[in-house]
């Protein structure tokens, strides 16, 4: 079975890899590019731990084939911080203890960032439904929702 050559952009950097057509974008990010921030929690698009952006659109990278990334722009948790400055969501998640084990955190940060870019002033209900595809088993979501809401507020005030 021959492999397919893929040229794509990850967090702004041009990258290339060879993949079996059965391999997912998540497999390629983790195994070929060593970007292990996105996690596989389910492989069926139900947990959101593998969340990335594909041409700016939030997706589960376990539901995208590696070959489909050809010519696309991919954003992962590794690209959220700006150099040595954390994204406000990252800092707030630390400040609020919005994580316990941390396995869902990369996916939630990618998803929450996508939300705030689209809706800078979400209601609690909007945050909860936007993040319904990001399972967290540790926190009961309370501190996560507060962290996202308060980051949104800070970012609005900073503008």
């Amino acid at each position: 079975m021959s492999k397919i050559h893929v040229s794509t952009t990850v967090n702004g950097d041009a990258v290339e890899y060879l993949c079996d057509p059965r391999e997912t974008l998540l497999d390629c990010l983790r195994d070929k590019l060593s970007l292990t921030g996105a996690k596989e929690g389910c492989g069926t698009g139900d947990c959101g731990a593998c969340s990335v952006t594909l041409d700016g659109r939030l997706v589960c990278s376990c539901l995208v084939l590696g070959v489909e990334a050809e010519g696309k722009e991919i954003g992962t948790v590794e690209g959220i911080a700006d150099g040595d400055v954390l994204h406000p969501l990252q800092q707030k998640f630390i400040d609020y203890a919005a994580l316990q084990c941390g396995i869902c955190t990369p996916g939630i940060l990618v998803a929450a960032k996508a939300l705030l870019e689209q809706n800078p002033d979400p209601t609690e209900e909007e945050v909860r439904f936007w993040l319904a595809g990001n399972l967290c088993r540790c926190t009961g979501y309370d501190k996560i929702i507060r962290a996202v809401m308060d980051t949104a507020r800070d970012m609005r005030e900073a503008v």
Binding site: R22, R57, L63, V64, F129, L131, A132
Partner: protein, 293 residues
Amino acid sequence: MQYHSPASFAEASQLAAAATGTTRFLAGGTDVLVQLRADIVTPDTLIDIKKIPGTRDITRNADGSWTLGVAVSGAEMGEHAALVADWPGVVEAMNLVGSTQVQGRATLTGNLCNGSPAADSVPAMVAAGVTATVTGPNGERKVPVGSIPTGPGRTSLAKGEVVSALHIPARGEHAGDAYLRFIPRSEMDIAVVGCAVNLRLDGDTISEARVSLGAVAPTVLLVEDAAAAIVGSTLDDAALDRLAAAASAACKPINDKRGTIEFRTQVAGVLARRVARIAYARAKGEIIKGHHG
């Protein structure tokens, strides 16, 4: 597995017609990849149709009808204000499929061709009278979407045939549609029962209606008795009772891990009432946002 990304539907059809073994078309991939990953279906040939021009387009035609490319995602539909204004029920049904992440990829056509009786968008499309263009080795044909799924995981598409576009009728005046489903959580579940209502008013009186049910039979049902129960009425309590009874009577569900026969039958009636009220209000010009869950 061979991966192809043809440049036209004719080419896609040729590839599929010539392929041996299992063939799947890849649009949003949110069902195909799950089945691949779980070793349920590993296609021998996978045909990615997203590079075909026009598959990401939402077009309003001169007569007010809509043509949707087969790779338009749920999120793109939800962000299209004019489409939402015309067909809020179809859009809200599609937007209930999966998470925000899944919405970034999942498509109406995929939801249709997956053949699940519980697919959220299908009752809404059936109620709306959506048709599909099917491209095959012998050219194109146009069919009602309800004729494509023939049972769980099965479709009426012949070898080499691929859905190449969807068409939603012109909305017209004084009309509204809506979709609700029942799930145990607030999100992320497969519908235990789904119900769509599409209706038109003449003054306060319902002049036309289409009522469809999902997850209560091997395929989505268009329930003519339920429509008849409300046509000619102002959706008064008696009409709603008749509607609920007709919806429940049409159910031919099974007991499974997601619900019982008894539960599905009863809740189909409950949902029909609730959905009809929303569709009616929309037909009266009220803006009612899509419901979660």
